[in-house]
């Protein structure tokens, strides 16, 4: 199993894109939390954070597609197209791949609803976008369970970093939500935070 040959290329490609997808999905979650709390990144206006969240999502989806397609095409194990979509039906590690399939389905729901966002109620879109919080940990457990790579060395370190960063972002999000300003008071809150300048005549 050392060295890339014509028989192992797909296997390596699937493992590598899996790692990259995990990293990108983590960035997507972090940016999503930032967008939700109307947070800013240094040097970027608010709408650019939203744009970054969308574009990194697109990149993650591209890597995810390659990860899934190469895994299916790899002759070494038999997974099958159906098993990529229907959880726990794979011929190889059905439980761990099943978690990945659920994660994939949830992400597909996020993509479809985000493309149709202008045509659906905001409430429904939001409700489905909450699934993002379920897709990410499923992907983490899928990585740990289905790949020995993720259980040691650099990849384990990266995965731990992802988990820590997401946990920190979630804690920050909850603390922000706890002191949320009601809609009607938001403009007043901004006005009161502005530096006092001499006004009037």
């Amino acid at each position: 199993m050392t060295g890339i040959t014509h028989t192992t290329a797909l296997w390596y490609a699937s493992r590598a894109t899996g790692v990259v997808t995990m990293l990108l999905l983590t960035v997507v979650v972090l940016l999503g939390i930032l967008v939700n709390r109307q947070g800013r990144l240094p040097g970027l206006p608010g709408f650019a954070v939203t744009g970054l969240h969308r574009n990194v999502s697109l990149l993650a989806v591209a890597f995810l597609a390659i990860h899934v397609i190469t895994a299916i095409a790899d002759p070494f194990v038999t997974i099958g197209l159906a098993a990529a979509v229907f959880p726990f039906t794979a011929g190889y590690k059905p439980f761990w791949l099943g978690l990945g399939a659920i994660s994939l389905d949830l992400i597909a729901a996020l993509i479809v609803t985000s493309l149709l966002r202008a045509r659906m109620s905001r409430r429904a879109w939001r409700a489905i976008h909450w699934l993002g919080y379920a897709a990410w940990p499923l992907a983490v457990v899928h990585s740990l369970g289905s790949s020995a790579d993720a259980r040691s060395g650099v990849v384990l370190g990266a995965l731990s970093g992802c988990v820590l960063a997401t946990a920190a972002a979630l804690a920050w999000r909850l603390s922000q939500a706890a002191r949320e300003v009601p809609r009607a008071g938001r403009a007043a809150a901004v006005l009161s935070r502005l530096p006092a300048r001499k006004a009037g005549l």
């Binding site: 608010g46 009601p182 809609r183 009607a184 300048r197 001499k198 005549l201």
Partner: protein, 452 residues
Amino acid sequence: MTGSLTVPNPPVTAAPPGRGGDLPRLLPASGAAPVGLRQHLDAYGALPTARSPGRLLREVAAAGLTGRGGAGFPTARKLAAAAEARPAPLVVGNGAEGEPASSKDSSLLWISPHLVLDGLQLAAEVIGSPAAVLYVRRNQRLHAGLAGAIAERAAAGIGAARVDLVQAPDRFLAGEESAVVSRLTGRPALPAYRPVRGLPRLAPGRAALVQNVETLAHLALIARYGAAWFRNAGTAAEPGTMLVTLRLADGRTSVAEVPLGTGIAGLLGLEPAAGHLAGASVPSAAGPVQAVLAGGYHGAWLPAAEAAHLLMAGAALRPLGASAGAGVLAALPADRCGLAETARVARYLALESAGQCGPCFNGLPRIAAALEHLAGPRPDHRARADLKRWAGQVTGRGACHHPDGSVRFIRSALRVFAGEAGLHEQGRCCGTDPRPFLPVPAARPASDADWS
């Protein structure tokens, strides 16, 4: 909260003679006392109900009636869309009148409630709705009067549709169409987060037809007298009359009914001299005027010398960013600081943000604070550039038109009061009277409950 507003019976001035020769149409020729049901029937005759809905629709289309709430959308098109919708949409008479500078809707509701209720009834008949709602600004006396009028009609057996009276919260955006619908479904009166296409929906499959109360009053008259009569007043492109709220330079306010296309100079008593300097103030019967606010707090300032030559019609005002819209005209006296006035209103507009769209609730407060700075002595030279840049960053970025309308108003001030801003930068100001001129409600506690 109730009864905190002044009673909506400002002196109603007789309108200047129009081309129709039968003005005023909506308000009695003299006096500001409510017109009772008997008096109403004597003056206008019984509510015509035998006409077929299709015929009334064609009549409204031929009359060219447009919405009098500010947007000016053709009423016939909205009615036709509602008549096709199944189940029949709920008819809503919108008298929220969140605009502090306007009192024409509450005056109309106070003085001629039966004309509005006639229109509400007719609209319900046209679209086949068994129920209607009258959504009215929070005011105890006005609500008592309307409840009495509704009961009186029910007792007399006038109209088939049941009419419910609903109180509008005292907010600038409470009359925005999607905010009205939100309030009627029991939620806060906030504008929809995303733009509404077609009729707004109360629930899946149940639409609402929201019409301004003055529009409904005109509808009641078109049903009685026809399109040709309606077109006797106004211009060919913008027929009919409209109610205007006038604020003269001496602070007196009145509500008048004028044909569209009436000269602004006559309405505000401006006396423009030939060859008048563009930036100079214009004498009026109520004292010298430096600028005119047309269209309310989402409208635009115009230099008095320019406004004196304009007509109260969309065709004349729209290119200047102002509008005949909801019919607000205010003459700013020469001894007030236009920037200070604009800054006060801008702060109010910022605080009236629904707090839903970031560009609005982050941008408008910054703009308001910068305007306050500009209205003060020796402002930073960058203040005007900042304002212009921020104004561009806010426009078109809200779900409703609050940021756009607010920025239109503020930009017009930067244009019209550019000379004044220059004086401020040198540490001078031509405002000698510090009393506020434009009406701005006191800041209110900010909780979401204030919107219901």
